[in-house]
C-alpha cells in the first residue's frame, strides 16, 4: 500500500495526466460530475456524481460508423473514437460494481468492441465512501463501500490518500506516481473501513434485502397486482435510467449529415413509449409494462441470465432524482412484502 499526502495530490494528477486523460469528480452547478483534470481543477468531496461513471465505457451517445454518399455511391467510414488511454479517479464502490454488471452484457459473445476497447484503455481508481448517504443501499447487493474494487482502490483521510493496486494496470499507474508516494501500512485504512462498516449498519435503507428476488422469480412477480399502483403515476421520463449506473439499453440510429449518414448509438430507456418500437408498435404498450420491465430486469431477468447477480448496485441515484419519488426500493418493499420494512 502506498500513500500520498493530499497536498501532493495535484502533483500526482499532473503525473498521471502526462500519459493519459485523467477524469476526476468536480463540483459544479447541479452537482458533481467527472471532468477532465487540468491544472487547478479540484476534486469534489461529494459522495457521488450526478451521472454514474458508466459514461466512460458506455457513453450516452457514440458514433459507430459513417456512410459517405457521393452521387449514388456509398462509402463506409470507420471513425472510432475510443482509442485513448484514460484514468477515472474517485469512482465509488457502487459504480465500480456496475462495470462488472455491464461487462457481462457487453463483453459476452458477441463482444461489443466499442465497449471492450474502452474497458481496455481505461484505468479505474476507486475511492472508499467516507460518508455514505441516506439513500445508499449498496450493502443490499453485497457491495462493500469501504473496500471498493477497481484497478486501484483509494481511501481518503483528513491528510492523506492511501492507494492499493488490485490489477496490473493499477500497478503500472501506481508506479508512474511512485516518486511522490510512499510505502505505508494499512492502519489508517483499516480504521476507516471499520468506521464505514459501522455507518452502513445504521443507514435507513440497510434493511432492504434481495431475499425475495433473483433468478427464477418471473412467474411470481410478473402478474403481481402491485405493478398497477406502483406504475400508475410514473411520468415515463428517463431520469432513473439515465442516472443509473447499470442500465445498458441503447438504440442505434442514423443521422443524415450533409455528406452522408452517421450511425450512432445512444442510451435508450425502457420507460420511453418508443422503447423497442417496432413496425407493429411498442411491444410494451402501457407505462405499466414498461415500468415493470425496468424493475423485473434489475431484480429477476438479469439474475436469471447472470448467475443470480442483480443489476442494481444501490447507489441511490434514482431515489433522489425521480420526479415522483418512485424507485427500486419502493418496488422491492411493495413486491417483497412486509419483511422488507
Amino acid at each position: 500500500m502506498r500513500k500520498i499526502s493530499l497536498s501532493n495530490l495535484d502533483k500526482a494528477f499532473a503525473l498521471i495526466a502526462e500519459n493519459a486523460k485523467l477524469y476526476i469528480p468536480v463540483d459544479g452547478k447541479g452537482g458533481a460530475s467527472f471532468k477532465l483534470w487540468q491544472e487547478g481543477v479540484k476534486m469534489s468531496d461529494a459522495l457521488n456524481t450526478v451521472r454514474s461513471a458508466k459514461d466512460f465505457f458506455f457513453p450516452q451517445m457514440e458514433t459507430l460508423m459513417e456512410f459517405k454518399t457521393e452521387g449514388k455511391n456509398i462509402e463506409i467510414i470507420d471513425n472510432r473514437q475510443e482509442k485513448e488511454d484514460f484514468v477515472v479517479f474517485g469512482v465509488r464502490a457502487c459504480d465500480v460494481k456496475s462495470f462488472e454488471i455491464l461487462d457481462r452484457v457487453f463483453l459476452s459473445e458477441p463482444v461489443d468492441s466499442y465497449y471492450a476497447s474502452r474497458r481496455e484503455k481505461g484505468v479505474i481508481v476507486s475511492l472508499a465512501c467516507g460518508r455514505p448517504s441516506e439513500t445508499c443501499f449498496c450493502k443490499t447487493f453485497g457491495i462493500d463501500a469501504a473496500n471498493p474494487a477497481g484497478d486501484i482502490t483509494a481511501w481518503k483521510t483528513e491528510t492523506d490518500l492511501y492507494l492499493l493496486a488490485n490489477t496490473e494496470k493499477g500497478e503500472k499507474l501506481l508506479s508512474a506516481i511512485s516518486s511522490i508516494t510512499e510505502d505505508c501500512d494499512g492502519k489508517a485504512v483499516e480504521e476507516q473501513k471499520k468506521q464505514i462498516s459501522a455507518i452502513m449498519e445504521k443507514l435507513p435503507l440497510s434493511n432492504v434485502t434481495t431475499e425475495k428476488f433473483g433468478a427464477g422469480k418471473t412467474k411470481e412477480y410478473f402478474d403481481s397486482p402491485a405493478w398497477d399502483e406502483l406504475s400508475s403515476h410514473c411520468l415515463g421520463c428517463g431520469t432513473c435510467t439515465f442516472v443509473c449506473p447499470t442500465c445498458q439499453c441503447y438504440d442505434i440510429k442514423d443521422f443524415k449529415t450533409n455528406e452522408g449518414v452517421q450511425r450512432f448509438r445512444c442510451w435508450d430507456s425502457c420507460m420511453y413509449s418508443d422503447f423497442t418500437l417496432m413496425a407493429h408498435g411498442n411491444s410494451r404498450a402501457s407505462q405499466k409494462e414498461r415500468f415493470r420491465q425496468r424493475f423485473m430486469h434489475k431484480l429477476v431477468y438479469y439474475p436469471d441470465n447472470n448467475d443470480g447477480m442483480f443489476s442494481c448496485v444501490g447507489c441511490g441515484r434514482c431515489l433522489t432524482k425521480c420526479p415522483i419519488s418512485m424507485n427500486i426500493v419502493k418496488v422491492m418493499k411493495t413486491l417483497g412484502g412486509k419483511e422488507n420494512d
Partner: protein
C-alpha cells in the same frame, strides 16, 4: 423510392445565358431518386412538353422536377403536362432557375452552382411528394358586384345577359357612380348622361339583376363558388317598393340647407332627396343627419305630402344574406383631398376648384345649370388656369399625394379646356403640364385639337404657387421652354387632382381576403395575363379599383371581368386546391390551437374512439379539416405543438428536406 425525371429548360438564352444547363442536368442526374435528366431550349413549348410526357412514359417516372422559370409562371403548365402523361400533377416541382437565378447572376459558374442547388432542393422535395387529389365543391350560380358605377353596371349587365343572376351592391342611393357626375366624355365629347343612363335603365329592368342601393357589404364568408355574403341595407326611411319617385317630398321638404354631395357641395339639396333626375332606383332617401323629424321628431312634412305613403321614419338597417359563386369588386375611385396642397390655395379660395367640380359647373344639371360661373361671385371667368398632375407622380409627398400617374387627367383637362373655349371663346385658357400623356385611340388628336383649333395655351412647367389677390388668383409658375417665371392673373384655377381608390376598398379587401397594393388598389392575379382576377379565387376586379382607368378601359375591363365570372359560374363544380391542412388524428390532442388561428373556420372538432393499449378504447377530441374551406396557408401547422397538423404539398418533412438540400 421515387423515379424522378429532371428537365432543365434553357428558356432560350434567358437561363442558358448564365447557367450551364447541360452541366446542371448532368449534376442532377446523380441525385437520389433521379433516373432521367434532360435539357431543352423551351420546356414550356409544345415540343418541350412532349419531351416530358415521353420521358414519363419511357422511364416510368413517379415525379418530375422542371428547372425553369418561376412556378408562378409555369407550374400549372407542367402540372397539366404531367397529368396528360398519366402522372399525378402534384408530383411536379419547379426549380426556379430563371427569376431567382439566371436573371440575377452574371457569373456562369455562380449561376450554374446555384441552379444545381435549386434543382437538388426541388428533387429533395419531390422525393417526399405524394399524389394529391383535389376535392370538389359546388358552384352557386349567382354573382355579386360591389359598386354600381359604370364598371359595376357593365359587369352586371354582361353577366346577366349570359343568363346568371347578379346582385349589385351600391353604397349610394343610386347607381351611376362617377360617370353620372361627368358632363362630356373624351375623346368623342358624348354627353356622359346620354350614354350612361340607358345602361342604368337596362340594369333596373333586367330580370336577372337585383340592385341593393344604399347598401354595403357587411360580411363575407366562404370561398370560391360558395361565398356567404351579408349585405346591410341602410335605412333610407322610404319604403323602396312603395315610393314612385315623384319628387313631391323633396319639393316640400323645409330643410333646404343640405350640402349636395352629388354636386360636390357646390349647392344644396333637401333632407329628403333623389340624387339626380335619372337616378336608378328612382327612390327618395332621407339624409338622417339633416332631417328634423329623425333628429328631434319635429316636422313630418314629407310623410304628409307623400301620396304613396312611402315614408317610414322608423325604418332600421336591414340585413340580407345571400349566397354567391363569384364576387366582383368595382369600388371605383375618388379624387384625392386637396386640403394639404396649400400652395394651390384650394382651401383659401372658392375659385380654386378640382376638375370634378369643374365637371359639375359645366354640366347642364349642375349647380349653375351648365353656365360656367365662378363659385365665389357667380361671375363669368375670363382667364382660367388648369394645373395638371396635382398630387399625381408625387414621390416625396406620400402624406398628400400619390406616386403614380392618375392617367385620366391629361385627357379630361384637354376636354375641359376645349369645352371652355368652345362655349366661351372670350375666355383665355392656360394649361400647365409636366408631360401630356395621350396614349389612346384618338387621344393625341384630341389634345392637339385643343391646342391647335381651340387655342388653349399649353405651358410646359408646373405651377409653384397660387395666391388669391382681391378677386383674382395670382398663378405663379414656370415656363420651362421660355425659361421664364410666369405670374398669371386668373379668375379661376382648376386642379387636376390625382385619383385614389375609394376608401371602402380596403375594409372590403380584408373581408374578401383579396390582396391590395400599397396604394390600396386591388392586386390582380397577374399584371399581364390575369388582369381582372384577384389572386383570391372567386374575386374579380372591374374598373378603377384595380388602377386608374378611363371610361373605355373601364368598360372593357368590366366586360372581361364578366367573362371570367361567367366562365366560373358556367361550371357546376370546382376542383379545389388539394394542398390543404391535414390532421393526424392519432397525434392530435384536441387542444384547439389550430382552430383558433384558422382564418377560414376550416377546423372543427369531433370526439373519436381510438384503440388504447391492451385492447382498451379511448375517446379523444380531435381536429378535423374541412378541405373545401381550407385554403392551405399552413398557419395551423405551426400552432400545433404536437405536429399533428401538416400541410399537404408543403409538409414539414418536405420543407425540412428543402432546407437540408439548400444547406448541403
Amino acid at each position: 423510392m421515387q423515379r424522378i425525371g429532371v428537365f432543365v429548360c434553357w428558356c432560350g438564352s434567358n437561363i442558358a445565358g448564365t447557367v450551364d444547363v447541360v452541366k446542371v442536368a448532368e449534376a442532377l442526374k446523380s441525385e437520389p431518386g433521379v433516373v432521367h435528366s434532360a435539357n431543352y431550349q423551351y420546356m414550356c413549348s409544345q415540343a418541350g412538353q412532349q419531351l416530358i410526357k415521353d420521358a414519363i412514359k419511357e422511364h416510368n417516372l413517379t415525379g418530375i422536377v422542371v428547372c425553369s422559370c418561376s412556378p408562378r409562371m409555369h407550374e400549372a403548365t407542367f402540372r397539366k403536362t404531367a397529368a396528360a402523361a398519366g402522372l399525378n400533377p402534384y408530383m411536379v416541382e419547379i426549380a426556379n432557375i430563371r427569376e431567382q437565378c439566371s436573371w440575377i447572376h452574371k457569373d456562369m459558374q455562380e449561376g450554374t452552382e446555384k441552379a444545381i442547388v435549386l434543382g437538388r432542393t426541388a428533387i429533395a422535395k419531390v422525393n417526399l411528394n405524394a399524389p394529391l387529389k383535389p376535392g370538389e365543391s359546388p358552384v352557386t350560380k349567382r354573382a355579386l358586384v360591389i359598386g354600381g358605377g359604370i364598371a359595376g353596371i357593365q359587369t352586371a349587365l354582361d353577366i346577366a345577359d349570359a343568363g346568371f343572376e347578379v346582385d349589385i351592391v351600391e353604397k349610394k342611393p343610386t347607381i351611376g357612380g362617377k360617370m353620372a357626375q361627368l358632363d362630356k366624355t373624351f375623346p368623342t365629347l358624348d354627353c356622359a348622361a346620354c350614354i350612361l343612363t340607358p345602361k342604368m335603365v337596362d340594369v333596373a329592368q333586367h330580370e336577372k339583376i337585383r340592385i341593393f342601393s344604399y347598401s354595403e357589404v357587411e360580411e363575407v364568408k366562404g370561398f370560391v363558388g360558395n361565398f356567404d355574403v351579408k349585405i346591410r341595407k341602410k335605412a333610407r326611411y322610404v319604403k323602396e317598393d312603395v315610393c314612385t319617385g315623384c319628387g313631391l317630398c323633396t319639393e316640400k321638404c323645409p330643410m333646404k340647407k343640405v350640402p349636395n354631395d352629388f354636386n360636390l357641395g357646390m349647392d344644396n339639396k333637401r333632407a329628403i332627396y333623389i340624387p339626380f333626375a335619372q337616378a336608378v332606383p328612382k327612390i327618395a332617401t332621407i339624409d338622417a343627419d339633416y332631417c328634423n323629424m329623425l333628429k328631434n321628431g319635429k316636422c313630418g312634412v314629407c310623410a304628409k305630402v307623400c301620396t304613396a305613403k312611402a315614408i317610414d321614419y322608423t325604418q332600421k338597417d336591414e340585413f340580407v344574406e345571400e349566397k354567391y359563386g363569384a364576387i366582383v369588386a368595382a369600388t371605383g375611385f375618388n379624387p384625392i383631398s386637396m386640403d394639404k396642397f396649400d400652395e394651390f390655395a384650394y382651401s383659401q379660395s372658392k375659385d380654386v376648384i378640382t376638375s370634378l367640380e369643374f365637371e359639375r359647373l359645366m354640366n347642364a344639371a349642375g349647380p349653375t345649370a351648365g353656365k360656367l360661373l365662378r363659385p365665389s361671385d357667380g361671375v363669368h371667368p375670363h382667364k382660367i388656369v388648369f394645373v395638371q398632375c396635382v398630387g399625381s407622380r408625387c414621390a416625396s409627398c406620400a402624406e398628400k399625394g400619390k406616386e403614380y400617374c392618375s392617367k385620366i387627367c391629361c385627357m379630361y383637362t384637354a376636354k375641359h379646356a376645349m369645352l371652355t373655349r368652345d362655349k366661351y371663346p372670350d375666355t383665355d385658357v392656360t394649361v400647365f403640364y409636366i408631360d401630356v400623356r395621350t396614349p389612346g385611340k384618338q387621344f393625341d388628336e384630341f389634345y392637339r385639337r385643343a391646342a391647335e383649333e381651340y387655342g388653349v395655351h399649353y405651358i410646359k412647367g408646373m405651377v409653384g404657387k397660387v395666391s388669391p389677390e382681391g378677386n383674382k388668383l395670382i398663378v405663379q409658375g414656370s415656363d420651362l421652354i421660355a425659361n421664364k417665371q410666369l405670374k398669371i392673373e386668373a379668375d379661376l384655377v382648376v386642379l387636376a387632382a390625382a385619383i385614389e381608390p375609394d376608401k371602402s376598398a380596403r375594409p372590403l379587401a380584408t373581408m374578401l381576403t383579396a390582396s391590395m397594393d400599397t396604394n390600396d388598389f386591388f392586386t390582380e392575379a397577374h399584371p399581364k395575363l390575369r388582369p381582372v382576377e384577384s389572386p383570391t379565387a372567386g374575386i374579380f376586379l372591374s374598373g378603377a379599383c384595380q388602377g386608374p382607368k378611363d371610361i373605355p378601359e373601364t368598360v372593357s375591363q368590366a366586360g372581361a371581368a364578366a367573362a371570367k365570372v361567367i366562365g366560373l359560374l358556367a361550371k357546376d363544380k370546382l376542383t379545389g386546391n388539394p394542398c390543404v391542412a391535414q390532421s393526424d388524428e392519432l397525434m392530435c390532442n384536441g387542444c384547439s390551437s389550430c382552430e383558433k388561428v384558422c382564418p377560414y373556420g376550416a377546423i372543427t372538432y369531433a370526439d373519436k374512439e381510438f384503440r388504447g393499449p391492451n385492447r382498451t378504447t379511448l375517446i379523444r377530441r380531435v381536429a378535423q379539416v374541412n378541405e373545401a374551406i381550407c385554403q392551405g396557408c399552413g398557419c395551423c401547422t405551426v400552432a400545433c405543438p404536437s405536429g399533428a397538423m401538416d400541410l399537404k404539398g408543403f409538409a414539414n418533412k418536405q420543407i425540412m428536406a428543402e432546407v437540408d438540400a439548400i444547406c448541403k
